[in-house]
């Protein structure tokens, strides 16, 4: 059940640096950006250029190291494989698009601190390591490295009380999550004697009945910390408030970067425990959490009028669906490809949606509401087309990339859990379809009124949105190559 945890052949040491080059480039780039933000205080431009350059080089390094086989580095603490490289590319591309697309937003909100860029890069660094972590302490450190800059980033609009409240909420709850992770790690170390995933996996079968409950408890505690990060029921309460309070690009980064990295870590963590361990209680909990997230997210999203809250609840529903894929893969590891496809589609649609959201001029006052979209069709029709593509992809409408993700997940889930639960999932889809169609209806069918916000776009934003839209629509119409690429990546 865990082909992943067999130690791969060690690659020659001269390839180690090449394998780690994306992370190295990101680290060096982050330091350069940090220095630039200190010595050039009055303008954001040098730090912005440094950040974008770093991201581009890191992406090139990922593609350049594509031929290196799977390897465990640092004696099994970090894995570099097609899986991690896929994770890194998705994350780097999302962050690149959000930085380029939302730059106008920062100017408008008078966020002049160039700290923004190196904080984002630090979070990305943490996310990349999180996606490759195969060691409990590396997991913890990378999770914190991912989270701490984002706590700061959430609070960037310092004069908005909702923003400060969101930041405090996220910080306190995230801190508790980190502590719980360490607590669980201690139980796992106590029961297996190791913190490396490979060694833990090999020692589980030999564990006696007196150690198993301790191990399960530790596993569940670490799972809880990871579920908090992806906002799965019952740890989802923070998401709507934090999204609503955070600046739009930061909410976008949370939706794409944090979710992607956490899901890669979550998938790896769920594969660690054999199915049926101690009566399969873990499977039941995973299933329950997944289904409840999906149901809760879908039902509550229907009543949202604030767009960021809408995306938060939609993200909770999507998390539930993605966890269904993980649940299915616990019984049939070959279907984990469904999760990667869904995750990629979700990231592309959310990146686009948040860039579009940053074009709204109403943030300073009360956040982007549904009424702000009214009449957008008569003012900026191309924006409506882009919005529709992203919203329909999130709804799983045919000919968008999101449809193929949903199709693969439901297909694999049906084989494991039966058609009844598929009907539940599709019922939730109808609810979310309403929530996604309502903005489209408001955009195209309602006349603008004076209270609607203005929507101002930038060339960079247009370019980033266009790329995301082309990806969503293009892979929806022609999914073959991307889907085959992603399906080939086994854990």
């Amino acid at each position: 059940m865990q082909p992943l945890f067999q130690l791969a052949d060690t690659i020659p040491s001269e390839l180690h640096w090449q394998a780690l080059s994306p992370i190295t480039i990101l680290a060096v780039g982050t330091l350069i950006t940090m220095v630039l933000s200190v010595i050039r205080v009055h303008t954001r431009r040098p730090a912005q250029v440094a950040a974008i350059t770093t991201l581009i080089f890191a992406l090139l390094a990922v593609f350049g190291s594509a031929s290196i086989p799977t390897a465990d580095l640092f004696r099994g603490a970090i894995e570099v494989s097609p899986l991690t490289r896929t994770a890194w590319s998705i994350m780097i591309l999302s962050v690149l698009a959000l930085i380029i697309g939302c730059s106008r937003y920062l100017t408008r909100e008078r966020i002049h601190l160039s700290d923004y860029y190196h904080l984002v890069l630090l979070a990305l660094l943490g996310a990349c390591v999180l996606a490759s972590a195969r060691d409990l302490l590396v997991l913890f450190v990378s999770l914190e490295l991912l989270s701490l800059p984002i706590y700061t980033l959430v609070s960037f609009r310092r004069n908005d009380p909702r923003c400060n409240e969101a930041s405090i909420k996220y910080f306190v709850l995230g801190g508790v999550g980190g502590a719980i992770l360490l607590f669980g790690s201690s139980f796992i170390y106590g029961s297996t004697g190791s913190i490396r995933f490979g060694e833990i996996a090999s020692r589980i079968p030999q564990m006696g009945p007196e150690m198993s409950p301790l191990f399960l408890l530790g596993w569940l505690l670490v799972l809880a910390a990871l579920l908090f990060k992806v906002a799965s029921v019952p740890f989802q309460m923070w998401k709507p408030d934090v999204y609503e309070g955070a600046p739009v690009p930061v909410a976008g980064i949370m939706a794409t970067l944090v979710t992607t990295a956490s899901f890669f870590a979550l998938a790896r963590w769920c594969f660690l425990l054999p199915s049926g361990f101690m009566g399969g209680i873990a499977d039941h909990l995973l299933f329950g959490s997944a289904v409840l997230s999906m149901i809760l997210g879908s039902l509550v999203v229907m009543s949202q009028t604030n767009l960021k809250r809408l995306f938060a609840y939609s993200s909770i529903a999507n998390t539930g669906t993605m966890m269904l894929a993980i649940y299915a893969a616990r019984f049939d590891p070959s279907v984990i490809g469904a999760l990667w496809v869904y995750l990629t589609a979700y990231a592309a649609a959310n990146v686009g949606a948040f860039i579009l959201l940053s074009f709204s001029q109403s943030e300073a006052d009360q956040g982007v509401e549904l009424v702000d979209l009214a009449g957008l069709w008569s003012r900026k029709p191309w924006m409506v087309v882009a919005w529709s593509i992203f919203l329909l992809s999130m709804a799983g409408f045919p000919f968008t990339f999101g449809f193929w993700g949903k199709w693969l997940v439901l297909k694999s889930f049906a084989v494991q859990a039966g058609l009844g639960w598929v009907l539940v999932a599709l019922g939730c889809s109808v609810a979310t379809a309403y929530a996604y169609l309502r903005p489209i209806a408001v955009m195209t069918m309602r006349a603008p009124d004076e209270t609607s916000a203005q929507w101002k776009w930038s060339i960079a934003g247009f370019a980033a949105t266009a790329v995301a839209a082309l990806a969503t629509l293009g892979f929806g119409i022609y999914p073959k190559h991307v889907v085959e690429l992603l399906k080939r990546i086994s854990l």
């Binding site: 409408f397 045919p398 058609l419 009907l423 069918m445 119409i477 085959e484």
Partner: protein
Amino acid sequence: MAGSSEILFLLFAPWVLGFALLLLPSRFQQYFANLAAVIYTISAGKNIASALYGHGSSQVSVDAWSSFGWAPSFVLDGVSAAFILMSGLIALVAISTGGGWVRTHAKLFTFCSFATLGLVNGAFLARDTLVFYLFFEAVLIPAFLMLGILGKPGKGTAALRFMLMSFAGSFAMLAAMIGLGWATFHLNGDFNLSIDAVAVAVQNLDPQLQFLLLGGFILAFAVKLPLAPFHSWLPDAYTLAPTGGTIWMSSVLSKLGAYGFVRIVLPIFPDALHRAQMPLMLLSALSVVYAALLAMKQTDAKRMLAYSSISHLGFVALGAFTAGTEGATGALFLALAHSFSSAGLFAAQSFATSSGKFLAGRGLRVITFLLLLAGVALPLSANFVGEFLVLKAAFGVSPLAASIAAVGVVLGAVYMLNFYRTRYYAEPSEGPSNGTSVLSPMQWLALVPCFVLLFYFGVQPSGLLNLLGGVLDAALVSAR
């Protein structure tokens, strides 16, 4: 592969034309769109003729969607051809009706029209439940936009209700499709959603499960067709949409439901359908009568025609549920005939009211009456041929359902003739008459094809009946 270029033409030409039209100025949209529709229909006819009479049928395998376990395909045969040509002519009718959109949103309307054309072509060519599903869902978006942007007040709610009810039905179908795929997975080791593979796999499922899966498909098509009690989205959607949009919805989109019943449900679920036949046929018959009764009470012309549409499509469903070649052929023939009769009637009533007062010159009155006779299924019209075949086949299976439906024919005559009497024979309303309501050439273009085709095929149905019957015979026999 034989005939692949013809299929690719049918799939992509409408999109090419739609995008090309966006480049032209709004003032000329209607003319050029009509020209494009005519050129497209003639080329489609030529392509189809060469494919069918040259190769027999054509098939093209879709490589782009082949990473899910099997290679989906598009197949062109007689039935698909008939529906595709019908859609091309309906494009002509819909665009010619004109209306407010010509001044305000011409580009949107013509683009949505060609998008709908492209997408329904994909649906009619699909030989694979997944491909059919993709196009079946996707075709909702142009209709949603036409209704929602160009409609009358109240359109937002109508549009959302239309979309959500269609989604709910389609998701039921998606669930059933996943179930079918799972059945093929158990049989062959991998998902395969082509109709032949699925039909084989379904035989091995236990009857209860077959019923459930059948139910999923029936739900989707019952919302689309529509069949009472799933019709509640229709009256508002048809009434509030611009006439061109209504024609697209009544003549083309609803036929997706009919096509789905006959080409998808019948070959895949012959046994389950035989067992569920009685209740389904009764439901269709009741739908006919229910909608006819409601139509009698309507005062708004468009709303009346909307309910009459539901009523006639109930006949189509009745024929499809007989699960026999004769009934299915009659159902599809009636579906094609109904497309033209409802398109013509919607167009005609919009021309009569377009000046604000109800004025109809002699020409319009004559042609409306003729179309109305077709709508009532008077002999010599194609609707009669279809309804007769349907009732004949239905009587053989369930005399009760057939009798109830036959009552619907009488009721149909009642509301149609009443509509004509109150509108076209009434005293003209006060106010200065503008002296004439002579139809413009464009408006004649909307009405004449409908009228000609209905009466030609009413008198000479054998060619088309043989075409439809031949294909259905082969498909249904192989399903047993």
